[in-house]
């Protein structure tokens, strides 16, 4: 079990943060900018970041602030793929530690900026124009499967083995990713909006009529 794939419903984790800032340190903005550049120029995509996040020590996942984890994931990925090497990164890090006001090089590729902005307005539409033959229909009871632990998943841990009802069959097939290993969501497939009663997920909680909705890839479901 990778804890990050089972985060929802984990008990006794203490108070929540109500911090409303997006970036809590200035360097986080710069890191985010580099990340968007990587997204917009195709160096990586969300699933690559998620593979890193799900592969972390779960205690470190809780310990480190959001963008500190990104920094670790981004640099590890860039080194693995030979975009940069650890030695040059470390050397420059030491340089900027000793010279925090030293300027960045006045170099770069000006075309990247427009490419990134275009990308942000375009996004990555996940729909794929392949035949949709959904196995389940609106109103049907479905059970969420309990597949093996994967490098990366979009299966919400607390929904495993739970039964819900299909509320909507989305109109087109969705490709999640074709660039990282997953538990079988790398081919375009139907997704469903499934409604669960929270009393069925957490029967030990005070009873309510509360509901929870999740969009679930077809490969994660069976008829109940």
């Amino acid at each position: 079990m990778k804890l990050q794939q089972f985060l929802g419903g984990l008990e006794n984790v203490g108070p929540v943060s109500t911090e409303k800032k997006v970036f809590v340190e200035e360097w986080e903005k710069q890191l985010f900018g580099v990340h968007m550049c990587m997204m917009g120029t195709g160096i990586w995509a969300w699933p690559h970041l998620r593979v890193k996040a799900e592969g972390m020590n779960p205690l470190d996942y809780f310990k480190y602030r959001y963008y500190i984890k990104w920094l670790g994931g981004m640099t590890a990925y860039l080194v693995e793929r030979n975009y940069i090497n650890e030695a040059e990164l470390e050397e420059l890090t030491e340089y900027y530690l000793d010279n925090p006001d030293a300027p960045l090089p006045e170099k770069g590729n000006p075309a990247v900026t427009d490419q990134v902005v275009d990308y942000m307005f375009t996004g990555d539409n996940p729909y794929r124009d392949v035949a949709l033959n959904p196995e389940f229909k609106v109103g049907q009871l479905v059970r969420v499967l309990d597949p093996a632990s994967a490098v990366h998943t979009r299966l919400i841990g607390y929904l495993r083995n739970k039964v819900g009802v299909v509320e909507e069959v989305y109109p087109k097939a969705i490709l999640y990713t074709d660039s990282v290993p997953t538990d079988s969501i790398s081919t375009p497939q139907p997704i469903y909006r499934v409604k669960f009663m929270t009393r069925d997920i957490w029967p030990e909680r005070p009873d309510t009529d509360d509901a929870l909705f999740s969009e679930v890839f077809e490969t994660y479901l069976e008829a109940a």
Binding site: E11, V16, L155, A211
Partner: protein
């Protein structure tokens, strides 16, 4: 580099100045390798200050509160409806879905697997949304978490939670508060917090 220097820097590995220096080193390498433009980072940050931010969501909610036909279209096809207001969609909002909170049903959005969030309407997610403790607790103990956000629902209000995991990004139209009859859309929009548009706040007039 001497051993002493190495020890010095090793000691700094978990400090903000280390993270800042490493990030600066990263952008510096990207510039050297022509992987980024000199203004790319600034333009990205500016983009979320001007193009995609909670000001978009607040405008959409104010219109939905004042124009029932618009609200119907918004609930049916969120991307098409926001285009009517000149709001462009894009990344993390290719497929938006609006849900409406009322006196009897309170909607909450979360992403327990990561931090899916409707960027075109709300910009980037605030820290609380990304915090592991929030994501762990909100689905199982929503009323307790709402209390920590200062929100107490009236007894009998049903909660509906949207836990994003595929490709839809959810957006909450909060319940319109009493005492705002006849207000302009601009004045209404000022009442609406980012948190209210994900269900962690309710809109009030004081």
């Amino acid at each position: 580099m001497s051993d002493k220097d190495h020890g010095h820097h090793h000691h700094l590995r978990e400090t903000e100045s280390y993270y800042a220096a490493r990030t600066k080193a990263l952008e510096s390498l990207f510039r050297e390798k022509n992987l980024i433009g000199q203004d790319t980072v600034d333009r990205v940050i500016n983009f979320f200050d001007t193009e995609m931010g909670p000001f978009n969501g607040a405008k959409v909610v104010a219109r939905a509160w004042t124009d029932p036909a618009f609200k119907t279209r918004l609930l049916a096809d969120c991307n098409a409806a926001i285009a009517e207001l000149g709001i462009r969609d894009g990344i993390e909002g290719e497929n938006l879905k609006a849900v409406e909170s009322t006196a009897s049903v309170h909607h909450i959005v979360t992403c327990t697997l990561c931090s899916c969030w409707p960027w075109p309407l709300l910009g980037l997610p605030p820290y609380w949304f990304k915090d592991p403790a929030f994501r762990a607790r909100i689905v199982r103990e929503p009323r307790e978490v709402l209390k920590e956000f200062g929100v107490e629902l009236t007894a009998g209000t049903k909660i509906e939670i949207w836990d994003s995991s595929a490709q839809i990004r959810f957006f909450v139209i909060p319940a319109r508060p009493d005492g705002t009859e006849g207000w302009s859309e601009e004045k209404l929009a000022e009442l609406i917090s980012t948190e209210a548009m994900q269900g962690l706040d309710v809109v009030t007039v004081n």
